[in-house]
């Protein structure tokens, strides 16, 4: 297998000296970078060979809020730094005079002075009148400026260490307060949640209340109209009961009168009855007597005349009897019962009887007179009379029965009227009471009516009020919900701290900016920080050396019919291989001789190869285009880049012109990328640098191709060179 680099290198293979030259090319960057970095690797590691003094005048102080515990911060500080060698110095605990003397002589590079009130002021942070504790570090720039700078850092470290402990104590209390706030707020949140539940219930209740009040209002309306009707009714009742009482009184009076009347009636009726009984007896006797009369008439008839005479006598007797006694009695009865038809009839009958008797007597006398002529007629007349007597007797019997019934009825009437009277009395009394009650009822209903009006107003207001209450309860629900949510959220935001957390946070807050410990992408040593710069520098020099020895382009090929791209490539590849070899040797030396380590090893190596590739492309272009002059230009570029690559101090600290040209030079990007990769930072920066370097490589290669193409054309000057370098 033959390849271009191999062919280019095989030029050096033949002789030992040329073989050595190849090794030299590969090793030179390693020698350069290695030596430089070795001398600068870790200067601060040897600061312990420097002596510093600490002067402790602290008298100590009592801790506040403790049982006589005292703080001797000065002693503690001395104990802490003396064996540890704070800042790399060797510390000596000496007196003030010794320290002053030592500093002036240069025996001590720094003197740390602890004042007498150091502890007192430290504990004052917990008291009413806090004061800062002061420390003083004195250095003498007359001896060494850099050590003074380092000492300043040491002071800061000590200061922040002390601040941390004192502040932490204080802040711890503050965090405890947070726990209280948290638990109280938690209760408030629970309470508000319950409140919210309650307001929800309340809202439901007020909803029901509104419904109920509305129904109540409706009911009250109905009640009111009912009460109006009732009042009207009561008014009518009052009037009716008044009439009833009057009527009942009248009734009671009437019944009393009726009772009294009926008593008389009963007495009268009894008397009538007695009378009719006697009448009946009398009528019966009359009848018997009439019978006798008849018989006698018969006898008269039979006995003719004598008898008629007797009869005349008898009729006279009878007429006297009837006209005498009976007429009186009937008259009496007529007086007693003037309206009674029976009585009247009885009277009439009795009257007619009397008349008849008179007539009979007359007739009897006539008859006796006539009897003599009219005996037969007499008998017939007697029989007619007899018949009429019997009828009268019958009627008297009926009268008596009736009178008896009347008497009985009058008695019943009387007793009934007595009861009626008693009842009517009671009725009158009741009606009176009823009336009184009705009057009172009327008063009551009137009052009730007024009350119902008031009630209606009230219930209407109740509905309005209940509706507003419901609305308010709705708002209350929303509000209490928000309150509960807010408290819940707020609670989440109120932190709580347990003991460990509190201690940790106290430490953090005590020194929120950990200025002395946090270092992004820290490198192990000063030299490692410089490595990016020196590696770039070494590779640039490597590129220069490479194309001092190798042909930038194979000149023989220019005469051939090969393409220019091919020729440029043929000149570049051997250089690139040397570049890779240089990177490999350089990192081997750095790793094994200087204990160098990169954050991202693989990427560091690949990036370094890219750096070498771009540098070699630049050198190839310079030499191919300008030959010896190109090498001079490469050297000038080196000097410019050292100034503007920002290898040691950031380029921003350099004069403006360097900042302007900085981005156009490959070493700037090489340093940026390498620094990122070695320290292990933002890979984007490295990627960006890689892209720039790749572009530079490609541009240089393209330019070399153009150069080759132009070189194909021979000029007279080339054929007859006037200057050979």
């Amino acid at each position: 297998m033959f390849s271009l680099p191999w062919l280019e290198l095989s030029r050096f293979k033949r002789h030992t000296i040329t073989r050595l030259a190849m090794i030299v090319i590969a090793v030179i960057p390693a020698i350069y970078g290695g030596l430089y970095l070795a001398s600068n690797w870790n200067p601060t590691d040897h600061l312990d060979q420097l002596q510093a003094a600490v002067v402790n005048e602290d008298t100590g102080a009592k801790k506040p809020n403790s049982d006589g515990e005292s703080l001797h911060a000065g002693d503690e500080l001395v104990d802490e730094i003396t064996p540890k060698g704070e800042g790399g110095f060797g510390w000596a605990d000496v007196s003030q005079e010794e320290a002053d003397e030592g500093l002036a002589e240069g025996k001590y590079f720094a003197v740390l002075e602890i004042p007498s009130d150091f502890s007192e002021r430290l504990v004052s942070t917990g008291g009413d009148d806090p004061e800062r504790a002061g420390l003083q570090l004195r250095t003498d720039d007359a001896h060494n400026f850099i050590v003074g700078q380092v000492a300043g850092t040491v002071l800061n470290e000590i200061k922040s260490g002390l601040n941390q402990t004192t502040t932490a104590e204080y802040v711890n209390e503050v965090y405890l307060g947070f726990n209280d706030i948290h638990s109280q707020t938690e209760k408030a949140a629970d309470g508000s949640a319950e409140l919210h539940d309650g307001t929800v219930d309340l809202h439901d209740g007020t909803g029901e209340l509104v419904d109920g009040a509305t129904e109540l209002d409706k009911g009250v309306g109905t009640l009111r109209s009912g009460l109006i009707d009732l009042d009207k009714g009561a008014g009518e009742l009052k009037k009716g009961s008044g009439d009833l009482a009057d009527g009942a009184d009248t009734l009671a009076k009437s019944t009393t009168e009726a009772k009294n009347g009926s008593k008389k009636l009963a007495d009268g009726a009894g008397q009538v009855a007695d009378g009719t009984s006697e009448l009946r007896d009398t009528a019966d006797e009359s009848t018997k007597k009439a019978e006798d009369v008849k018989r006698k008439a018969d006898d008269v008839v039979d006995g003719a005349r004598p008898k008629l005479e007797q009869a005349e006598g008898d009729f006279d007797d009878a007429r006297t009897t009837v006209r005498g006694d009976m007429d009186d009695r009937i008259k009496q009865l007529q007086e007693d019962y003037p309206d009674d038809p029976n009585v009247k009839k009885l009277a009439e009958d009795a009257d007619s009887l009397g008349d008849d008797l008179d007539k009979a007597h007359q007739r009897a006398s006539d008859a006796k007179d006539e009897a003599k002529s009219l005996e037969d007629k007499l008998t017939d007349a007697v029989d007619g009379v007899m018949e009429k007597i019997r009828t009268a007797d019958k009627k008297i019997g009926q009268l008596d029965d009736g009178a008896q019934k009347v008497a009985t009825g009058a008695d019943d009437l009387h007793s009934g009227l007595i009861k009626l009277d008693a009842g009517a009395g009671k009725l009158a009394a009741g009606a009176g009471d009823l009336h009184d009650g009705a009057v009172q009822l009327k008063d009551g209903t009137a009052k009730a009516k007024n009350g119902a009006d008031d009630l209606k107003d009230g219930s209407s207001r109740l509905v309005d009020g209940a509706t507003e209450l419901d609305k308010g309860a709705g708002k209350l629900v929303d509000g209490s919900g928000e309150l509960a949510d807010g408290l819940e959220k707020g609670l989440e935001q109120i932190p709580t701290y347990d003991k460990n957390d509190r201690d940790h946070r106290s430490d953090v807050v005590a020194v929120p900016v950990d200025a002395d410990k946090v270092k992004d992408n820290a490198v192990d040593a000063y030299g490692e920080g410089l490595a990016a710069f020196f590696v770039s520098l070494a590779l640039w020099i490597g590129g220069m050396i490479t194309y001092m020895v190798l042909n930038a382009i194979p000149y023989r090929a220019l005469a051939s019919s090969a393409s220019s791209t091919r020729i440029a490539w043929a000149g570049y590849v051997p250089g690139l291989l040397f570049g890779i070899a240089q990177v490999a040797v350089l990192y081997l030396v750095l790793t094994f001789a200087l204990d160098f380590s990169a954050g991202a090893w693989l990427w560091t190596l690949l990036f370094s190869i890219l750096v070498a590739a771009s540098f070699h492309a630049v050198h190839q272009l310079c030499v191919a285009a300008l030959g010896g002059v190109g090498r001079l230009i490469a050297l000038v570029l080196l000097m410019i880049q050292i100034a503007s690559a920002g290898g040691t101090y950031p380029v921003q600290t350099a004069p403006g012109i360097f900042q302007i040209i900085s981005p156009f030079l490959p070493m700037t990007h090489a340093v940026n990328g390498l620094r990122t990769l070695i320290a292990g930072g933002d890979m984007f920066i490295a990627a960006q640098a890689a892209v720039v370097l790749l572009l530079m490589t490609l541009i240089c290669l393209a330019a070399t191709v153009v150069v080759c193409s132009r070189k194909r054309m021979v000029t007279l000057t080339q054929l007859h060179p006037s200057l050979s370098l």
């Binding site: 033959f2 390849s3 271009l4 002789h15 023989r556 020729i567 000029t715 007279l716 054929l719 007859h720």
Partner: protein
Amino acid sequence: MESATETLAEDAGTDEKSIAVHSWSMSGKQGEVFDDVDLEIPAGGLAIVRGPAGSGKTSLLLSLAGRMRVTSGEGRLGELDLRKQARAVRGRVAVGHVDGLTDLENDFTVAQHVAERQIMLQPWYKPWVSKSSLREVIDLIRETLQSATEFIDEQPEGAFSTTDAQRADFLIDDDGEVFVSELSELQKFFLEFGLACLSRPPIVVIDNIDYLRESDDRARAWAGILIYQQLRKTRDPDDPLTVIVSCEDSGEFDIASRSLGSNAEPTAVIELELPAGHPPHRHSRH
């Protein structure tokens, strides 16, 4: 001049590989290098540019090879304009020997030279050549040399012998492991010529064949050119080799031509005499 140009153009049109220049002139800061050269070489022809040192032979050859700019004149390589399409012309005209351009690397072996040229002819993304394919190329060269020897053997007894051919053979060992510094001048000449022919170009230019100090070597060189031309013509009649050679003295060509006779005759032999009208200002190269 006009009509000549037209004729030239027509002639050029008839043969793609013929080369023709008209009023071909070059001048530098220190005066004319050459002036008003008219030259027409058909494909397969041999042009001999003869002139004293400093007469502008090298510049003329490089200008014909598309590697140097002329000041005025017209020139064509087939369809190509020599002045305007120099890049394409360079692809077709190989440089066999020009002092300072084609110098061999003393610390390279023959095989390394062949490999280097081989790689150069490949595309850029293939920067290597395998040993086996290099061996194929070397075998091809060896075969060519063998054919040349056979060709000489066939010739009637004359100035050239197989020994001459062997002296020209730069492939001393099988694998070409011999270093160039160990080769004779004639072997170097043929190595350069061989490398130039590796891309099978239609035209090869060879400057100053006189640098071969021995008169016999010069005659062998001429003979080698003629034999190779003949071999190309025989193997590939459509792709003949045109050779342009410059010299101060072409006496050895006549010897070679005579010896080989009509067996190895170029299509045409054009001789161009460059006048030594210019003050020689170049430093001696030797």
